[in-house]
Symmetry: D2
Subunit: 345 residues, 4 copies
């Protein structure tokens, strides 16, 4: 942590800051520049204490150096973490494909699409039984019956299931059915939900908030990890910017930046980022090119009657194309992309 003093700060201001640093139990190292002084702080743990220094007279700025996350940090654990869900492994160099309907609409629809994505080689099944919807007047998900359908789809296909949890009180219920809990983008800083989900010790797929910084994203992963689960996979799903040509701006630049500071796996959701199925395959391949550990895509066989997000769903033939191209690009990059064992394609 560095405390940058104003160029007009007095000697008294300097001494006050130095004393406050020592009062907090740390060491102060004052550097005298031509136009101003700065004070290096060592011995501090984390960056929480900056708030005690920022308001002192003569202080221009406090610059944290140590990252506030620990468990998620590559400094603590230099090698990549591999998160295992059933026989699926995130972060071992390969590319994981998670596919399925955006929402569980009915037993028939879900089993049909689960069969479809399994037959084409997807590794995991996605589908929401609880849906976060901007409007209170739209379909909110089937709830527990939807979870039962997902469990049946797993039985039938052998694919592990990831599904969203929205209410801290229902986290244990969702965990009974799901192989992996999903935290949605709007809930990335729903700290109560993170705490309750983390306590269950199950693998969690946490979507980056739509305006979350990299540090905030890792702090939310830290909430999960410090409460009990170490099996966290982060998902980039587009951020909010001024650009209106896509529903969100898929931020592929976060992938190498994330991997530099964290050992956790990170995947990409090109469907929610795009909002339009015509952009899903290019965005998926961009994610693989950027180094993502996997993809999460919406597939539907009747998008014009889907209850949620129909326009972004891939049709079966598009999904086949995505599988083929992902396989080819992964191979070009020397990354495994093994089709699910039941794949018939």
């Amino acid at each position: 942590m560095f405390v940058i003093m104003d160029s007009r700060a007095s000697d008294e201001d300097i001494v006050r800051v130095e004393n406050r640093i020592r009062e907090l139990g740390y060491q102060a190292h004052t550097i005298h520049g031509d136009t101003r002084r700065a004070i290096g702080v060592t011995g501090n743990r984390g960056t929480e204490d900056r708030i005690y220094l920022e308001g002192l007279p003569g202080v221009q700025q406090v610059i944290p150096v140590t990252k506030p996350y620990k468990l998620a940090s590559r400094e603590i654990k230099p090698e990549n973490s591999v998160v295992t869900v059933g026989n699926v492994r995130f972060g071992d160099g390969g590319v994981v494909m998670i596919a399925g309907p955006c929402a569980v609409e009915s037993r028939d629809q879900t089993l049909r699409i689960a069969d479809l994505v399994a037959s084409k080689g997807a590794h995991m099944l996605r589908g929401g039984a609880y849906k976060p919807r901007t409007s209170p007047y739209t379909f909110q998900g089937l709830g527990e019956p939807g979870l039962e359908i997902l469990a049946e789809a797993r039985e039938q296909t052998g694919l592990p299931v990831v599904t969203e949890v929205m209410n801290p009180g229902l986290a244990p219920l969702v965990a009974q059915y799901a192989d992996m809990l999903q935290i949605g983008t709007r809930n990335m800083q729903n700290f109560e939900l993170l705490k309750e989900s983390g306590k269950l010790g199950k693998p969690v797929l946490m979507k980056r908030g739509m305006s979350a910084t990299l540090d905030e994203t890792l702090m939310s992963a830290e909430y999960l990890m410090s409460h009990g689960t170490h099996e966290v996979v982060v998902c980039e799903r587009g951020v909010r910017t001024f650009a209106s040509h896509a529903r969100n701006t898929l931020d592929v630049s976060v992938i190498p930046a994330f991997k530099q500071v964290s050992h956790l796996p990170i995947i990409v959701d090109p469907s929610h980022a795009s909002g339009k199925w015509t952009s899903v395959i290019p965005m998926a391949l961009a994610g693989v090119g950027a180094g993502a550990d996997g993809l999460l895509v919406d597939v539907h066989d009747d998008p014009s009657h889907a209850l949620v997000d129909g326009p972004q769903a891939l049709l079966p033939e598009n999904f086949q194309e995505l599988m083929d191209l992902t396989a080819k690009v992964s191979a070009a990059l020397g990354r495994p992309f093994n089709l699910h064992s039941t794949a018939t394609g």
Copy 2:
């Protein structure tokens, strides 16, 4: 709702869209332009059905016209709503001042600051017993004992109390102590929390999400209103942009835009927007100039030892200056700003 067809759309594409519109129970009005055709849709309620049309062949874009919110809309209720909390009235043309510590740190600190802001004429007391913190390692609030302290502060000062609720399961508990529930910026799209908070029927202060559009903000108000409370006040507290000179970019332009489409009151939180106390007074006056119905500010008498957000808190003398300037600017604009009855200043 308008369906804009691609310039290369065929007659067959047009017919398919017209049929789908009728299948949904609405009317289709096709307009033939020079380069393309467009289809006006009437009879629809809300905009949910756009997803059934967006994916059809030949469709370039679906443009909703009717807003998806109803209860929050000025079209339904043309006159301003007045939200009453004790003897405080939001939305009647006057300016309401809510002040207090960011967090309830201790009984002594809270009672002391409550007395202070009451003596200077503030109308309501703020203070968090549950704190949403980016880091799991920082002070998370006192919880229920904090609520008890707030209730005691109300007794002592006569000021109604607003405090944050974070967990849907604890909403009834918070409602027992608070006069008004606060939904934080990170929870504006925590729909489970909105549902449970709305059901209690108490006034709610809902902060705009840090990257929420105006429509999304009103849809979240709609969640609260459609679940039981009609006493909703929205709070602009800065949005996330590329700019780094302030913690957030206070979006004063949302105030006139909000008032044009909604009858609800809207206030401004200059403290969280700025992150630095030196900018709080200018941002507060900017909010009043833009037409905000009130202000929500952090006050602390020992910011360099505050457990949360110390650098943004106003000192007692700054708060006095804010009260004086708010009174003068309100008067200049012909807006009431009556000091709380116990004010001694």
Copy 3:
């Protein structure tokens, strides 16, 4: 400047950085923390040299401390600068009102509106003879004949004139007619234009770029100042964000931040920020509340036939209301707002 080393940096990496710092002629001060080392650099001028250090092995980050601008900095000149254009003074504590049509459309229209704004007490006249238009197919301005009309309007009203310059080659021509040159938002980093405009030594009104940081804004002011003019007024006119309820997001938070680091005056353009006349008065008053040194507004007496930006122009009666409210709010804040001497009330 601080060089933050990676926690895994070797002693050899440290020595290499220290040597490079000395090679550049500066001093290195190495601080040993628990998890990493950092090196304070003193003796450097500006921040240009960071690029020589950022790429070295083991370097995690280089943090500049000294601001890259000098002439625009309050560190060099602690007291406010007053920029004088005719008898108009920016930055002396008062509020300056610049008003007029967005574009010079005709002699008649310009003289008519100039008379109007002068009669209501505006201090300066605005109007564009060269218009930066997103589309090559729309009205691009009258060019030099437009400048002649502006000069005639000045004769007639006594109001000094500010008008935009777009082409470095035409800067001397524009300067012959104008009392103050305007640099548009799209040209804030058109460095050739800044150089040529600065050389003329005339006062310049420089609009902040629509995605410019505070530092970039001040660096562009520095271009003007280092090339010859010290009479620079900056104008906040809204920035580009995700928000779509206004054409741009007026960033009032930049005003106190700007004044903290620079001695230059800063004004607000509520018309271009809003894009809609209904929001212009609230945004203008927000600007005054935030501490702006003046306002720049579009006025038109027939907006539905205006060639440029009609929807954002104030009608004469709205402009009267703005003058009245600005006078009242300025008075409440103890800031002078004297009507132009020819004002007829």
Copy 4:
């Protein structure tokens, strides 16, 4: 174009709008919905006339349908354009690699790096003789001597040269030396520069502005095309967002969206987007995955002494890796990536 009326608009308001539409020479088609009326406008050319309708009483919103660009639009020219620079072809399905130093620093440095990138198979040489720099105190480029060096590098390597033009008055000079003119991101809406550059009829590489929408980007291309050149290649180089983990947020989602509405080629600059060489290869491959027609990268053999943007430059061995991986991924996607004929690698 659609005119959406306020739900409270009177019959008189409707008639006024209909009349104004007819006065402009267009047809009005009024649609009566349950809560409001809307008026379809046909016969209009472009969207310029919306400003005459937006300010009328009772009008809530005017929604343009026809895009304001024509020459750049795929509606006018459905098939892809191929832009040819020497023997390099942009837009024919292949991937073009443009590489070289950010700035021409000296004859020796430029010839050395030109040889290097040619020997590894790059197709074109980049290098700036005029540099847009945020600070007036940093290296501004060698000017015309730099152009001469670039011409010599072309002689020596056979690679066509692209270099930036900043001043409209110097566009003819730059065009004498360069095979392709570059418009920088800060100048994308420097309309005078676009006009002068377009008139020369040479191929132009136009970088997207750092906060430009897709429509604005195409309107700037339209400036170039309507003034004389039809050989325009657009370059995505990252946009400005709240995210701070990269210098800019590379917006790969613009690539499929761009190709849907325009026939022009689009390439990606991963170097300026990232700002750090460690992210350049992942961002380059993301661009190829997303469908970009080429890449523009900075290469330097001594980045820690580079005068401009050293930290983002690829070292020779990194560039070799980029060439290898681009070749493999291009092949996986069935896209040609032929090495330059002089490649020795």
